[in-house]
Amino acid sequence: MTLRRVSVELNGRLVEATVEPRLLLSDFIRHDAGLTGTHVGCEHGVCGACTVQLDGAPVRSCLLFAVQANGRSIRTVESLAAANGDLHPLQQAFHESHALQCGFCTPGFLMTLEAVFRETDVTALADREIRELLAGHLCRCTGYQNIVRAVRLAGERMRA
């Protein structure tokens, strides 16, 4: 098996490594780049925990190989908070609304939502539409009521 050199822009930083082609992007992010905010749940694309942004679009990092991200830009949950530690408005709203308990699923939710917030005025969406947006993510602690509430709160603040 031939090893490959990959070079990925990860949260604005260039990360290079020599990898097996079968290395999943999720494992590259966690083990090679040392960013453990991206969580691996089901590892077959169903749970949504490993969702990251590939050139701005939310994708499952467990269904991509690291070699496929060569030359591309990846954003993970670590990119959301400011350098001084101030939380992103979405993170702040999740925190205040008790939209997480164990927090395992949260990074995936946040990376999907951050992309939606860039394109959509979330305050104009019905609850049903917000739930559809979140349908690709499983939460097994809190249920979804508080997550929908957090989306509403963040939407109002980010619009203001």
Binding site: P21, T112, A135, G136
Partner: protein
């Protein structure tokens, strides 16, 4: 789990990909969006010796309308199809169907060609394309052929693609005037696998009767199927609650869906009847 080891090629041009397929096709799998293949690799249900990654073939990523035909490059992302306003206007059945494919994160990566080549009987796009009488362009290093749904889909997750062939394009004729369409499906959870579904096009004649109905079914058998008997029966009929229900019953009588833990064969057949009835009434209201 982690995928088994494989050799990996990432050609940048179609001719390179076809040359690789000519040399290694029998032991290789084509990797497009990977939303079905990579789970199979992670579970080690598939262990190909080699992956030929076609994501570098930008020349296969396009949606083009030419003389009443929509040409979809095989590498077109499902999300691009979903966002195409011209498709929503001219072939809205595809826009309706693609919204049921997985979730947005899956559609950002999954491709139209991959959905066709994977040939999952519960998949939305193959059933919608079957209803649209789509043609599939298959290319090898030495030639090309164009096949219809009935020729392409052989069995569950099995197509007529030869080991050295690559699906490069899907062609759909834009439906004519006075045509309405609908896509309905039933699943346990939003975004989950369909237990039954129907993709329907209805064209009305000058008097408002059905000139032509096309009914594609998903999850009703090993491949996407057309409910031909119901289509013929609807010709000349006025589609209302009674005739739509009769056509639904005829469509259901013609299929034997496989039963499993999520629903018995009888239950799924009953769903087919309901899905077809609903889809016909929705489609005729838009015609």
């Amino acid at each position: 789990m982690k995928p088994p080891p494989f050799e990996y090629d990432d050609p940048r041009r179609l001719d390179e990909a076809l040359a690789l397929l000519a040399e290694h096709g029998a032991e290789a799998k084509v990797l497009a969006g990977g939303q079905s293949l990579v789970p199979l690799l992670n579970f080690r249900l598939a262990r190909p010796r080699r992956l030929i990654d076609v994501n570098g073939l930008g020349e296969l990523d396009y949606l083009r309308f030419e003389n009443g035909t929509l040409r979809i490059g095989a590498l077109t992302r499902q999300a691009a199809l979903e966002r195409s306003s011209e498709t929503a206007q001219r072939v809205p059945l595809l826009t309706r169907a693609v919204r049921f494919v997985g979730h947005p994160q899956i559609r950002n990566r999954g491709t139209v060609g991959g959905s066709v080549a994977h040939a999952d009987p519960a998949a939305e796009l193959p059933a919608a394309l079957s209803a649209l009488d789509a043609r599939y362009r298959l290319r090898t290093r030495s030639g090309e052929r164009v096949v219809a749904s009935e020729e392409l889909f052989l069995a569950a997750r099995t197509t007529a693609l030869a080991p050295d062939e690559l699906l490069v394009e899907v062609e759909v004729d834009v439906p004519g005037p006075a045509t309405g369409s609908a896509f309905v499906e039933f699943s346990r959870r939003y975004g989950g696998a369909a237990l039954a579904g129907a993709a329907v096009l209805v064209t009305l004649d000058g008097s408002g009767a059905c000139e032509r109905a096309r009914i594609g079914l998903l999850a009703a058998g090993p491949t996407p199927v057309r409910a031909r008997e119901a289509e013929v029966w609807l010709r000349g009929a006025t589609i209302d609650a009674a005739t739509a229900a009769e056509a639904g019953a005829r469509a259901a009588a013609g299929v034997t869906p496989p039963g499993d833990i999520h629903g018995s064969s009888d239950y799924r057949r009953a769903l087919v009847e309901t899905m077809v009835t609903r889809a016909l009434l929705e489609a005729v209201a838009r015609a």
